[in-house]
Amino acid sequence: MDALLLTLQLAFFSTLILLLLATPLAWFLAHHQFKGKFLVEALIALPLVLPPTVLGFYLLIALGPEGPGGWLANLWGEQTLAFSFTGLLIGSIIYSLPFVVQPLQNGFILIGKKPLEVAYTLNASFWDGFLNVILPLAKPAYISAATLGFAHTLGEFGVVLMIGGNIPNETQVISIAIFEQVESLQYEQAHLLSGILLTISFVMLAIIYASRKQSKGPLL
């Protein structure tokens, strides 16, 4: 059960940070044209196609004592960010980035610039207009992005295995716990955890599709 709690924590914090990071990124990509935009978009989409082990491998190096992660960890007296919850969080954020950026970007494109321009002419500043017009209009896109980001982090396996190892209470997430239980023939435990994961994932996807029907808004 510790693994379940840890997984939910990881998914929750990853999603939260991702929404904050992806909002300006998606807005920028939706409304600005610049040279090499396709390269940025390809880079963000990379985790969609890259084997998680490849991503995990590079992350392991980056987070390790020799990489920038190690330098960062030195600031609070650690050797490395690999095999820690923080490292796992960074990995999840990169791994789930496209699942959050893309729905938001599509949502912003669909809304267009017009509502914000109308808000400007009604004496609203950019932030005023963004918070009171764009965010409410983008609600379906945010629900979709949050759900996908959360669900995708829940299902993470390869990246976590590479950079997190399998430390109970620190880095042992549910998918790895299941793998270990099957390896050691504890099918009853594996059934329980798998059932829980299946239910959560199904409920989350059901939320997405239900909200899509209600709002007719932009989703995937």
Binding site: K114, P115, E117, V118, A119, Y120, T121, L122, N123, A124, S125, D128, N132, V133, P136, L137, K139
Partner: protein, 363 residues
Amino acid sequence: MRLDLKLHIKKGSFCLKADTQIQWRSPCIHVIFGESGIGKTHLLRSICGLEKGEGKIHWHHKGKTITWLDSQQKKNIPSHARHVTMMFQDAQLFPHLNVEDNLKFAFKRANANADDWQHCIDSLRLEKLLPLNVDALSGGQAQRVALARAILSKPELLILDEPLASLDWHSKQEVMEYLKRLCDQWQLPVLYVTHDVNEVLALAEDVLLLHAMTNVTTVDSPKALIDVLQSVDHPFHRLGKSSILHIGTPQEAENMNGLIALPLKQQIIYVPKPKKQSKAYTRLCIAANDVSLSLSQPNDSSIVNILKGEVCRIDDLDGHYLIQLDIDGQKLLSEISAYSFERMNIKVGMEIFAQIKGVALSQ
């Protein structure tokens, strides 16, 4: 109130140069008139600050001069600080808010008080619409709400970008009435963009700003616009291809069910009685393709208005002919096919009968 424009707008292959002053003697409606696609919207968006432009915009209001744009000095006041409100072709109400909250969005961000609110709701008759969702509104209602929202934001200048283009004739009339009344009551200078001659005639009171292709020219009254529209050499005549006839005081027509008589010098035009009886009508607008010609006086036609005139000018418009007639000293345009033109053998100086299918009345 005066708006000084010295603008150079470039977007891809599109280029617009404007160097003009728009002066509001008393707050009233100015019209920017021109064909679609020649950059009227770009010009407006630059005035609002929604589009980047090169040049200068100065706004003189209540004894103060404010520089909205001076690209040489890298000065560009953001839209929300210019106190200009723009009303768009489609009402652009916020879909996540109901009617009341749409209005409140503007109201809260403006220096308006409860009286303004009530006055606006009452004069646009919006009370019943307040709790509705915006997608439940008809086109005319949505534009009324958009107009109220624009006015409640208490702008120093109100800009309307073809706000009636998507409305039917009846809703158009209604919104135009409201617009005129509100601008009078609120002493609000308005810049109104359209390519519809009828809207110009119904709304414009003072200066009209015309602009063609890359140049902006001004004429200073609806009368001057009429002259421009009638002079066949001017590029604008193709736009209008309409004639404007000045009429005497409308009179009740005897023995003619539901018609009123509009006297010209010698002849009379009959039109259905307008819903609102008004003696203020002084002009008629007649589209050139609503006028057909006949060499002899037709006696068995369903068309009521048959006027006698003289051909005074003929223009070949690629497969069509634009015939200018002199009717009691006023000019009337008729557009006919090349086939008819040749068959009738029309020549300048000929006496001819014009059958008029439709007219629009304006004040």
